[in-house]
Symmetry: D2
Subunit: 359 residues, 4 copies
């Protein structure tokens, strides 16, 4: 268990801080002999990139990763670790200088100070920055290419923004049409518009808003996972809680099930053309920690971005006195839309690792 | 990562099946030179034990663990792994014989069959049985004695049974009075009675009901945890999802935060007598994956017990034909009350490991 | 990395002390659906058991393991962890009472005291006792049954006792005849007699003698292992150094190679009937940490048993004063013969883990 | 366990291939708030660098690492992973093009082909290149600065080149003068000259020669390590066998002990001024896998460089036919002198990890 790396057979180590020379990832265990589809990687990473629309921060980034290792002279993966580096540019360090001593409510600032002391890299949130999800998207994009070969597809949609909830997918059909892999994927476009309005309203008030992302994985073979600490729920959530601002993870209809009865939530088995499945999928495709051959589905809940424009109370650490804090700069009023590919990427990393290790 | 063991510096390996000769745990890394308070261990384990009241199965168990190793001749811990064995008794194997071929909806049966084939031990749920939480309570009880020395106290209450929700603790006071460590701990006794009625109603219908457990940990030093994959949320949830029937885990007010705004959910800092804290605790004492010195709080959601008396649809695996299944025997209509000490124990194991490894 | 467990996909956790109620092992990850050949397990463990001849301690043990978990009602492995318990009997605790304060030279006593304090279990060497190799033999015997299915055979012989060196096997033939799996396996029986004489000579002087064990593994598929920290040499030696008294590990002709030239030690490739091999096997079947399809061979060096009858100098820890120490009781003058199956078992555990995880 | 990363609390992940754009390391878990002495790092890395004298390859390298992450704006470590990148230059790819199909005897070529298929990066040895020890020296140099604060010093000397053996240090004095940390450290300068002559003789014949490095660590506190799989010997050797060409590792006088008697090799305890030690140090400062407060000492054995100029037999893989192979280019006739700082660095990494995790 490590702060910055995850996985055993497919292992991803993330490095970098928001304002360091660079951020990146080292991917160990990726099979040799693959030609990566780099256009697909770029397209996937672009879904996370900022600065392209009304819902996200205006900081521009050239997030094209340089591949430092892991490819042979033909450009195939060679079995050695793949190291990808994204150089940091456009880093306005001056914006952040005072935050070391006056931690922002809701941010990692104060906890980081308690852990690392005064030396933690406060610039742009340092290693706690959402920017560190770019290397995760890189690693996830590579994993998705492996999974696709095995018939496994991952797609997530925005399940909630503030008070607006998207429709529920049925999660029964292994060939379920994917949500549009765009920058605001929803099932019900009208709900999508209402969500955008909710984000815009938050922005205009200098406020932020939370939300949720539901992820569906089709094609997962039965028998993946294990009892107790090797269960799909625990392994996936170890990764998913690694995404900044995630505060809850639900598998299947876990929350509704907690308020309901067994007679409603047990998924009856059915058989069609020799294929066994379930008539409903309240369990999210997982029983006893193990996949049952139905699509996996889970929901990841994000708190509102802590960076808001209104005055907040904090403490000036050198003296221990309370003071008012006003956060300067422009910030995402909602991280959820940009986090959709991050959720997909994290799921891809975890599932690839489990499949490669025969879990 | 392993199906049956968790932890690095304090590592717990659970073994056994419901109807094997025994179940138990091996605890590595427990500090030497401690006299365990065995009465406290027994009292803690008794909170999980079945058969004592109206809400739980009538199977009687003598769950007194035998300590096979790890103690010196004075009975102190000696630094060697502590192995505790609980022998299985009163195992009526005949009840379960037909289930191998006709999996029970909502149970691990079918997924276990996909993973292990026909050889999986179906008797009493095998290694998926809730009975395996007894060794977890044993290990957790030992950990709680270490944590208590460091001023850390863990207490959980029943936050929900079906439609009935308990009151919310404020989670601000490090010296918060503990809930009664009894077999049905709630904050509001009236809600407790309504919950018991809900369970009783489910029983009478041969149905089952879900629920939730909220756990509060006071005295956690600031700076525990880490960014990304070493965060408190991910590490705790890896363990918590190891408890049978858990389908969602929420930290702080994670679900409400996902529907709300930053201006409501950011926890302002305050300072009193040189001690820095927050005025609210929506973050659950965790920021950026790291403890901030406030009490931790999180909620674990349980689906209803899948064992219900009414007829359900299943498939007869040898022929692939659908058939009706009626589950015999008496079962807990709700696992939540017995799971309260299990949640506490799991949190104790994870936090002890993190503290011992300086995480 | 843990003191008492090893492996990832096939993970073995050893528990117990010499004079605790029991010792044993928990084996996680053993495939389901196997009928273990228990006679073979017993025969293998008997090779390690003491008390049967002139070279070993007279302590009698009934080392028959009880299987507490991991089998279904037909006695097949079921996918759950296999826990085996060996109860300790015939433990004469009184022999050891004074050693806590006057550590024996060459033993773990003083180092254990530094690590665990006065509470370490000094009786019979506690968790440092050679007796803990019995559960390792149990686990190894189970692994060997898996390996045999894949055509992998492991056999070790006594390569040296004191000044007497056994002949060298050629390690080229994948179908190499195994050494007699008896209690004193050697290639050259005359050397074997000389070795026994060396042990007997040491015994008569109240002294002890060191030695070495060479292990050959045939049938290992090419491509197992990896560069750097995943190499076969490192992974095997992590286990082999876990055997008490091991102080050096050599792969292939590593020691001779360090004194020689590349022109002598490079193994030329050859091809016969489409099968590629090497004409010599100085590398021990491993290049760049990875198996090359030739038999593996490695040698494990054991120091002499530290328990000797002559007077030695030690320190009385409570006062810090030097004093003379005379160790009572009867002890093995040489651990090497009994360690042969332990070396095989450890190799079996490591290789099984690597194969199951696709290393 | 991973091919490219090692450690738990202080974790080093090495990436790169000889002819990839770069090589480097990510170091997780390095404490925050340190100012690294970069001059010392450079001086240490220079001891490994090639091209400076008669014993090593003439390939010139600008091995100055760029620090991509892990430092705050003051240049202090900030708690985030430290990523160091060394760009590859002066890579003459053409030298290596035919080797993919005709593996070099003694090299990793054939084993790598078996593991990774035709896609493995054969250029310059790919990820098996000795060049990958540069990032290890970087990581080790940083660790040594931490260890030095705790009074721990690591120094290695060339114990053997071919038939010439250096004198033996006594390994008793915790304040033992270090060997000259130069590029050919020996205890006895006359032996050093003879060793250089041995290397030069090998070079002139187009041959190569093996050797050994002894490493001494002073100041290690007693009680570090553990029984069985957590022992200092196993943990150190897991790292040491990760150094290319290492084929044996010996702790203390392990080899001599295997040929001798307990009465000679047990280290008697002594006490002086309240400090307990041993009169001899045959155990290498380790008993039962745990440090006893005496200096650690161990010896690492290297096979001769497999690259030699004389004609060798190999197989042309596409047809499976034997053929003669002549390796072009200039190569180190002996890797041992350049490996001295690598052994020190590896020991520093392992010991730092153990100390930080309280092993």
């Amino acid at each position: 268990m490590s702060d910055n790396s995850i996985g055993e057979k497919l292992k991803v180590t993330v490095f970098g801080q928001s304002h360091a020379p660079g951020i990146g990832a080292v991917i160990e265990g990726y099979p040799s002999g693959r030609q990566i589809d780099w256009d697909q990687v770029s397209a996937f990473m672009a879904r996370r990139a900022p600065g392209q629309n009304a819902w996200s921060t205006t900081r521009k980034e050239a997030d094209a990763p340089q591949i430092l290792s892991g490819l042979n002279e033909k450009g195939e993966t060679c079995g050695a670790p793949i190291c990808a580096l994204i150089e940091n540019q456009n880093t306005r360090s001056k914006d952040y200088s005072s935050l070391l001593h006056t931690p922002r409510p809701g941010h990692a600032d104060y906890a980081a100070y308690l852990k690392y002391g005064e030396s933690w890299d406060v610039r742009g949130g340092g290693q706690f920055s959402g920017r560190l999800t770019a290397p995760i998207c890189f690693a996830g994009a590579l994993c998705m290419q492996l999974l696709k070969e095995k018939g496994i597809e991952i797609s997530a949609h925005i399940a909630r923004i503030g008070s607006i909830q998207d429709d529920r997918p049925d999660c029964l059909d292994p060939a379920m049409p994917l949500y549009p892999a765009d920058r605001f994927p929803v099932i019900n476009p009208e709900k999508g518009e209402a969500m955008k309005a909710e984000i815009e309203a938050a922005r205009q008030k200098g406020d932020s808003v939370g939300g949720a992302i539901r992820c569906v994985v089709t094609g997962v073979p039965g028998g993946l996972g294990g009892p107790m600490f090797g269960g799909l729920e625990g392994r996936l959530s170890l990764g998913l809680f690694g995404i900044p601002a995630v505060k809850a993870v639900e598998f299947g209809d876990g929350l509704a099930a907690a308020s309901g009865h067994g007679s409603e939530f047990n998924d009856s088995f059915c058989a069609e053309d020799g294929k066994i499945g379930t008539r409903t999928n309240h369990q999210g495709g997982i029983q006893g920690g193990i996949s049952n051959g139905m699509p996996l589905h889970f929901t990841v809940y994000f708190k509102p971005t802590p960076s808001i424009a209104c005055a907040q109370r904090s403490v000036y650490l050198p003296t221990g006195e309370e003071k008012e804090l006003i956060i300067q700069g422009r910030h995402d009023p909602c991280v959820v839309p940009r986090a959709v590919p991050v959720v997909e990427a994290m799921a891809a990393m975890i599932l690839t690792d489990m499949i490669l290790q025969g879990a």
